[in-house]
Assembly symmetry: D2
Homo-oligomer: 125 residues x 4
């Protein structure tokens, strides 16, 4: 989160929003946000949204995710919004959408579907 300068905007039970402002070190050869950054923000948002429904002394791990990249990350702000679809005893399923903002317009840039696992009694220090 620090290396890529991600900001936690909102966390509610089953929901999370994260933003990353434009920074040239996060871009690929065309000056757009790199797919690896888009993937990371989608995954981080899913992690926080899922953790918001777990017990305090648990930690959360991403089991797997699938991400569709739909538009280039051409803009000045990357925004990820994650919603929990199912909060099971062991596994949580989450969907994230990543938007790119340019000239005050937001465009859907990527969408993911993620499976996470709750590790009970393993607090993240």
């Amino acid at each position: 989160m620090t290396l890529i300068n991600a900001k936690l905007i909102d966390v509610k039970p089953g929901y999370c929003e994260i933003q990353i402002p434009y920074d040239v070190t996060l871009t690929q050869q065309h000056g757009f946000f790199h797919a690896g950054i888009i993937s990371t923000i989608a995954d981080n948002a899913a992690g926080y949204a899922s953790f918001s429904l777990m017990e305090e002394d648990s930690s959360v791990l991403t089991v797997e995710f699938k991400l569709n990249l739909m538009s280039p990350g051409d803009g000045d702000l990357l925004i990820a919004k994650a919603n929990v679809l199912k909060n099971g005893r062991t596994l949580t399923i989450c969907r994230s959408e990543v938007f790119i903002r340019k000239n005050d317009k937001e465009k859907l840039c990527a969408a993911s579907q993620t499976t996470l696992i709750e590790l009970k009694n393993k607090p993240d220090k």
Copy 2:
């Protein structure tokens, strides 16, 4: 590739290997390689493996991928190996495995399956 210090080890038709040596800026709270880095190396290897079968004046874009994270990135070297499963006229399907090396032993850390699209007559400058 520069920000994360990735090294292109091998590219053959339909195959690519990339390595990333340990660097503390690439790790999460436990000192392991961050999932975002693991995802990025898998994606980059898939991109090069696919591009190796495309025309010179094409460029390649990741349409989507699915990644399973199987072991923590606990080690000193991250290694991604990608193989093309199908090289179609428009779409290429690729699988990557990511290994983590510790004390000279390699362990399967993640595996992905990726769909890429060839953009003809659009060379990457």
Copy 3:
């Protein structure tokens, strides 16, 4: 669609709903709808939702999909609802949710994210 007795309930631009009533031949060992049926209804709904935005003389093919199975298909009616996320020139991205109805209550049973390709000038006879 015939073998599994699927009914097309609604098709609007970018949206489709399909239902399958309970039939013992579609179930697994516990009498629940088989995962293969759940996967098929999610895929079919995605196909119709995507095709609704394509040209008349095109046909549509599923490139790939990812499906999370969240609850057993324990009920009397399976309902799939698909929405197009992105309708590109070549590729369409779609999300489906599959619900299972039991005693007049609907429960989220599965969710998928699908990539489809438009084959122009290839009408499906």
Copy 4:
């Protein structure tokens, strides 16, 4: 397995092969094996391969899978081969390839990557 006439050809620890002979009820409008059948055989092979490494009184459930459809199911025999990538304490990760045989030639038709969960002390009757 009965409805679609699937035959269990081989099960070894971490491996499974299943075959389905051509039958007109399993095909789509062009007479090829339906994507739903291809998806089901890939999933079933993953289930058996994973179960082969689990305890006797466990049962296995598919958490999620991702499938790429690469060639039409145009042939007389569908063959799925599944290999376990990781057999964890709770989750198992598996890859399947589905081949279509026509005129004694096999062609890669689909490939999947699947996450399964072991339910201990819940034998499948």
